[in-house]
């Protein structure tokens, strides 16, 4: 498997900028998620890597060899970049085995390879089925097997799970991620689902309006987002207006230590913490604030509570992830565990 390197890649469709000067390196054998809202250019990025869209500017290298550059555009079939599109796009005129063997050279040990791939994706014995006889999850796994069969240098997956229902989705996602790791595939997966990106990928590239705004490990992206936009996008957020002094910030929920490297100047800031950093207690202690429970969404393993803190000038809405047995209408004490991040107000 191979390294993929994009430098300065730009693309516009008419007056709409799809990609603006994107640099991204996907290390060999790594699974990178490109995460962003609809229309942020992530699919365009993927299609440029696969060779279906021509970049206006910039360079794409696979294993150090340019496949996209000024006056260079290697045809899709010569790149060794296999694509797994949304909803699979299996060849309807071929059976499962025919689909998987499509990219394999004629003759040779085609059958062995097909059986191997079927086993890999857990569909052993289904080679004779037609695509329309498979469930959505099975179709998606066949699409993956088809992409992996010719041992491509890179696999790109375009929102591959968006057509699956929630339960199946988590399951197929885990299976796909295991298969990809099992063979050390270099893979790029495009998604707008933060949970999917954070749980599957070795690294997450966050895109916004055609720009790559952050690229890091899932925990970096989650705990140290580069700006407020990224912070909001990668998960639920509690935003607290505050005043920064040195390495501390004063907020309505008390004085919090600051976490992070490039800090804004002292003065008014927005301090943010994740809902799981809000500790809910039954009684008001020293350093804790009183809050009213507006609503609770119960998930079994924990619950997400929407609270209103009545203190200071205006009521402040806060999200808390908690295992405490809260009910709507309760009055509770809350405090913040761990450090906050601060961004310019």
């Amino acid at each position: 498997m191979s390294e993929v390197k994009l430098s300065g890649v730009s693309k516009a469709f008419g007056s709409t900028t799809a990609l603006a000067d994107v640099d991204l390196t996907v290390s060999s054998g790594e699974l990178t998620a490109v995460l962003g809202p609809s229309g942020c250019g992530k699919t365009t990025l993927l299609r440029i890597v696969a060779g279906f869209v021509r970049a206006d500017r910039g360079r794409v290298e696979i294993d150090g060899r340019a496949v996209v550059d000024e006056n260079v555009h290697v045809a899709p079939e010569r790149r060794g970049v296999a694509i797994v599109p949304q909803e699979g796009a299996l060849f309807p005129h071929l059976d499962v085995a025919g689909n998987i063997s499509y990219g394999l050279p004629r003759g040779g040990s085609t059958r062995t390879r097909v059986d191997e791939m079927l086993e890999l994706v857990g569909l052993g014995g289904l080679g004779k089925r037609r695509p329309d006889q498979l469930s959505g999850g099975q179709q998606q796994r066949v699409a993956l097997a088809r992409a992996l069969a010719p041992s491509p240098r890179v696999v790109v997956l375009d929102e591959p799970f968006s057509a699956l229902d929630a339960g199946l989705r988590a399951q197929v996602r885990d299976e796909v991620s295991q298969v990809l790791r099992g063979i050390d595939a270099t893979a790029i997966i495009v998604t707008h689902d933060q949970e999917e990106a954070l749980s599957m990928a070795d690294s997450v590239a966050v895109m916004e309006q055609g720009r790559l705004v952050m690229h890091g490990s899932p925990s970096e992206v989650y705990y140290r987002p580069v700006d407020l936009e990224v912070a909001r996008f990668v998960g639920d957020l509690v935003e607290l207006p505050g005043t920064k002094t040195g390495l501390e910030v004063d907020t309505i929920l008390g004085r919090l230590p600051i976490h992070g490297s490039s800090l804004p100047a002292d003065g008014p800031v927005v301090a943010v913490v994740r809902p799981e950093q809000i500790r809910v207690d039954g009684r008001v202690e020293r350093g804790a604030k009183g809050a009213h429970v507006d609503d609770v969404s119960f998930f079994g393993h924990d619950a997400l509570a929407r609270l209103t803190v009545y203190s200071g000038d205006a009521p402040l809405r806060v999200l808390a992830r908690t295992v405490a047995p809260l009910q709507r209408g309760d009055d509770v004490a809350i405090r913040v565990i761990g450090p906050a991040l601060v961004y310019p107000a």
Binding site: A50, E77, P85, E87, H93, Q133, A147, P152
Partner: protein, 487 residues
């Protein structure tokens, strides 16, 4: 085209203006367009309604009716016209031309719409119903819009067929372009007015073809998504079922039963006089030979053009597509005369030999083939082809291994359609056939030429029977397309 341009430009602008501004010309344009508009409208109405009834409803007898509905395609319009004139002398002029042309051409709309309806994802109809729209409104706002590209292609074929039809309007004595052009060609030595009128006809055709593309521009989309649709649940018609079935039977009586019955009557009348069996057999053989060869030659051109226009929509592909339509709009007799001109001056070795006739067929029937291929290719998702590219197939390999197999039912249907049309073709065959060869159509024409309709009936009947074969093949090709979805 070149021939027309040469002839027209030789005339000079003043002469052209003079011909165009004659009151007769204006009336001619009105009559031709009026006939084409009425016939096309009726064909769209009948074709779409029949297709909806047999694919989407539980109408009694729908399977049998679905098989019978395309069969009028096997009846050449001049044969149907003879049948009508012989039995109902009042059916001349506009009314007769409308009835005959509608009855003979509505299958051009019916067949592609049936295929398209079977592949529309019923989930979309279900969504519409769940949003509170009635079955009726759902049909017109969802289903009909989805099948519109197919219906529009079919409607275009009908319009062009009507504009270029010569046999039927001659027999029914309705003066439209082709008849006047023909009279002008044959009755005078000055062929300029005919050339100018032919050029005008080509211009009108291009306008219609561009208009057709404009109407399907907002809805023509290639399929995205999982590719394979479920079958729709048939919609119960209740008490309306027999009424609908009755209406379909009435259409079939007019379009199918009446001409066939008329032919049988004349056949039995002529039986006593004896039949020239040998000539009948050789004519049948020649017809089959030319139809197969012509269809293969036409489709060899139609497949690349169809793929090009379906997958690479650009200005130049639009021009290529429109150019193919232009050939179709030219009356067969104009193409034939242009090729005679070409044969005599440039291609002497193939003049009055099979290759030149095959070229004429390709020029005339390319649009039918291109339409079928384009429709079939557009039904499959381009994502599928991208996957094939990403797995290492070159564009040509993708064409061979993915695009063409997926479009195979459409290509087969196109081949059948072209074969069928070649069997029925008259004027070009008449002028360009190899010396001494006779097809069923030309034999028929010579017989009616000597005013012996009873003697012509055996040829007409054999022609209809022969033409039923590709018609059945056409339906089977589309049946297979849907059958694979049932597996």
């Amino acid at each position: 085209m070149g021939y027309l341009l040469v002839r027209t430009s030789e005339a000079g602008p003043a002469r052209i203006l003079e011909i165009l501004s004659r009151p007769g010309t204006v009336a001619l344009v009105g009559r031709s367009l009026g006939l084409a508009a009425v016939v096309t409208g009726l064909c769209l109405l009948i074709g779409i309604t029949l297709a909806a009834l047999v694919t989407r409803t539980a109408m009694p007898g729908r399977r049998t009716l679905a098989v019978l509905a395309p069969l009028p395609l096997a009846i050449p319009s001049y044969v149907a016209a003879f049948a009508w004139v012989a039995a109902a002398p009042w059916a001349r002029g506009f009314l007769g031309a409308t009835i005959v042309l509608t009855a003979c051409t509505y299958p051009y709309v019916y067949l592609p719409v049936v295929a398209a309806m079977r592949s529309v994802d019923p989930a979309q109809e279900e969504v519409s119903r769940s949003l509170g729209r009635s079955a009726w409104r759902t049909f017109w706002t969802v289903t009909a819009r989805q099948v519109w590209p197919a219906a529009a292609s079919g409607g275009l074929l009908v319009a062009l067929y009507t504009l270029s039809d010569f046999g039927a309007v001659s027999i029914l004595q309705y003066d439209v372009f082709t008849r006047v052009i023909h009279t002008s060609y044959t009755a005078t030595f000055d062929r300029t007015p005919a050339a100018v009128l032919s050029t005008l006809l080509v211009v009108i055709t291009v306008v219609i073809a561009v208009g057709e593309r404009w109407t399907r521009r907002p809805v023509e989309q290639t399929r995205v998504g999982a590719g394979v649709a479920r079958r729709a649940e048939p919609h119960p018609l209740g008490a309306l079922g027999p009424v609908a079935a009755g209406a379909v039977v009435a259409v079939l009586l007019v379009a199918l039963a009446f001409p066939v019955a008329s032919l049988l009557y004349w056949f039995s009348t002529g039986l006593s006089a004896g039949i020239d069996t040998e000539r009948l057999l050789t004519s049948t053989g020649t017809t089959l030979f030319l139809a197969v060869l012509g269809a293969v030659a036409t489709m060899a051109l139609a497949v690349p053009i169809g793929v090009l226009v379906a997958r690479h929509r650009s200005r130049s592909s639009a021009v290529v597509e429109t150019a193919t339509w232009a050939g179709h709009a030219l009356p067969g007799i104009v193409v034939a005369l242009a090729l005679v001109f070409f044969g005599v001056r440039v291609a002497q070795p193939i003049y009055q030999r099979t290759p030149l006739l095959l070229i004429a067929y390709a020029v005339l029937f390319l649009p039918a083939g291109v339409g079928a291929v384009r429709g079939a290719v557009a039904m499959s998702s381009p994502r599928i082809e991208e996957v094939a590219r990403s797995l290492g197939s070159s564009p040509l390999a993708v064409l061979r291994r993915v695009t063409i197999p997926l479009a195979a039912p459409g290509i087969a249907a196109g081949t059948a359609l072209v074969m069928l049309t070649i069997m029925k073709e008259l004027p070009a065959t008449l002028l360009l056939r190899p010396t001494g060869a006779n097809t069923l159509a030309t034999s028929l024409w010579t017989q009616t030429g000597v005013a012996a309709y009873a003697a012509a009936a055996p040829y007409a009947l054999t022609l209809v029977l022969l033409a039923v074969l590709p018609t059945l093949w056409l339906m089977r090709a589309q049946g297979r397309f849907t059958a694979t979805e049932d597996l």
